[in-house]
């Protein structure tokens, strides 16, 4: 049972198992053991970002291509729900239509980008996705009658989802199910081919695998995962806007989470997302304390200023790329 659920890809480390079980238990019981709106928001954000980061890891860690359009697909999911809810009213039909339209649009764009630019070098794909994503961001902020422009869209959800507890478990359940599905994908024969391409694309091609096809399918799957994450995030926040879904800062956050957690290990997404979101919400408090206690020293208080938390995660990111390419998970598995 457990074997099938995890697709035979166990954590393979006692410490990692303990951490993963702790995170899962924490998320599952979050409404009861961490009361308060803030902690529930943190828990929901962790769940959404685990899915978002896991789907990105399929691209970066397993296929070895860098995309900067992941937030675009995240945004398409968010705006799909947002526009449908805001324009068509809070009905289940509208929600389903919004989700379906978002998935279809994501699939079409991912397919087009993949077929056009995955033929050439990885670096070209990175730049093209960056350009397309920024174009989409401009589009969302310019088409304010539809998208609400810079302000975004606030909307009402169908009755049942207005209940916070229900919404939370819907978000968590879908994120967990899709995470397991992604685990299935990377451990399938298809996932093995992706790994082969990552390790040696020349040899993979020589064996007879069509690189473009495999990469494009991976790109589409990742895009769909990100879209669902966007849908979940919109459902949780009951709001969609450029800053919560489309901004380049979120893309940087995703990169940090994947690399710190561990590229090429789905469990890294869980660790990376949890660590990052918790740090984002609680590290600043800690730094405020540290910065306050170092008052009067030169430079140090400025370096430990609460707004500089990203600096330290950035340093951790660089150290990870150099010294721990498999991130925290790689360390724990040794």
């Amino acid at each position: 049972m457990l074997f099938r659920l995890l697709s035979g890809d166990f954590p393979r480390s006692r410490a990692l198992t303990v951490v993963l079980i702790a995170i899962l238990a924490g998320l599952a019981l979050a409404p009861f053991i961490f009361p308060g709106t803030r902690s529930l928001n943190v828990a929901a954000k962790v769940a959404v970002f685990v899915l978002l980061v896991a789907s990105y890891d399929l691209l970066l860690g397993y296929t070895g291509i860098v995309s900067f359009a992941h937030t675009m697909f995240f945004g398409i999911g968010g705006y799909g729900v947002g526009i449908a809810m805001a324009k068509m009213g809070a009905s289940w039909g509208a929600l389903a239509l919004g989700i379906f339209a978002a998935l279809a649009l994501s699939l079409a764009i991912a397919l087009a980008i993949g077929l056009l630019s995955l033929r050439v070098r990885a670096i070209f794909f990175a730049m093209i996705t960056l350009a397309v994503a920024s174009f989409f961001q401009i589009l969302a902020s310019q088409m304010s009658p539809v998208t609400g422009g810079e302000d975004g869209l606030s909307f009402r959800l169908p009755e049942l989802l207005r209940e916070r507890l229900v919404a939370y478990y819907v978000v968590l359940g879908v994120a967990l199910a899709l995470f397991l599905a992604l685990l299935r994908v990377v451990n399938s024969p298809f996932g093995r081919v992706l790994l082969a391409i990552r390790e040696n694309e020349f040899r993979a091609e020589a064996i007879g695998y069509r690189l473009v096809n495999y990469r494009t399918v991976a790109n589409c799957l990742a895009a769909l995962g990100a879209t669902v994450a966007g849908v979940l995030y919109a459902i949780w926040l009951r709001y969609t806007g450029p800053d919560t879904t489309l901004s380049f800062n979120i893309m940087i956050d995703i990169l940090l989470m994947v690399v710190i957690g561990g590229m090429g290990t789905m469990y890294g997404a869980v660790l990376g997302a949890t660590l990052f979101v918790v740090a984002q919400n609680y590290l600043q408090d800690l730094m405020k304390l540290a910065s306050g206690s170092l008052e009067g020293l030169p430079l140090l208080p400025a370096l430990l200023h609460p707004d500089r938390w990203l600096l330290w995660l950035g340093v951790l990111f660089i150290l990870c790329v150099y010294y721990f390419p498999a991130g925290i998970v790689g360390r724990l598995r040794r």
């Binding site: 970066l60 860098v66 050439v120 070098r121 670096i123 730049m127 350009a131 940087i252 660089i318 150099y322």
Partner: protein, 324 residues
Amino acid sequence: MKKDWTPLALVPVIALVALPLVGSAPTWVTLTVAGLAMGMMIFMMASGLTLVFGLMDVLNFAHGVFISVGAYGAATVLTRMSRQMEAEGLASDLSAMIPAVLAAIALAAFLGWFFERVLIRPVYGDHLKQILITMGGLIVFEQLIHVVWGPDIIPLPRPGTITGSFIVGEAAIERYRVAAVVVGLAVFAAMWLVLNRTRIGLLVRAGVENPEMVESLGYRIRRLFVGVFVAGSGLAGLGGAMWAMYQEQVNAQMGAQVLVMIFIVVIIGGLGSVGGCFLGALLVGLLANYTGYLAPKLALGSNILLMVLVLLWRPRGLYPIGKA
């Protein structure tokens, strides 16, 4: 090698197509000068990126940091020089501007040297890690800018001689834009001369074509790498200083904001090609100004549409460099 002139025709073609659309000649002149000036500044910021890519096969996502640092360097010097800034006359203005620009170049070049040495050197040849490392550098150095210069936007005054505009016929032309065009042309000419008429330029071009061969002939390609990286960073700093004076403000995100535009220019020109980069920058600058006047809503997306069109015509950019 046969010269390929067709892409060069794009600049006058776009300018001429825009003339009847804009309608009035004076407005057209103003827009064209503005577009050329913007193109020159983009070229200064982008040329380092394309050279570094061509020679070392490194795509530096942290290139924007050099731009921001150049802008901050210039701002620091200019705000200290308020006495010279307030005095009338070209001489005193230049005595403030030249140190500011030199500071921008020096600061960005030094940072570039540090960057190449510490961050990029261990990951030559590994694209995935290069992208990740330079992204990490972008995050860390953007935050460090906040630590050093504070989180607020710094307003940047322009010296009197290059503010305001003069009237030619009925067209109003901003002085600063003319200055930007002059500096941009000078930088392009200097780069062209260095690349085509000096021994170092010869080695750089040979290195772009075939680094192993250059190495086996006894030249230290590593030193060339560092030199080009530092020069490219310095150019980015110069471009950043010019851009900041154009915007009349400095903030830490400005480098990241123009980064997308710079990438588009580099892609349009053909990765690694300086001439293509110059042409691409002019096209993007002109188009941005024309569409900004004709259809403001389209303006921000116009350069991406341009990129798509160019890539449909020439999938590897206007002037692709030997390596695929």
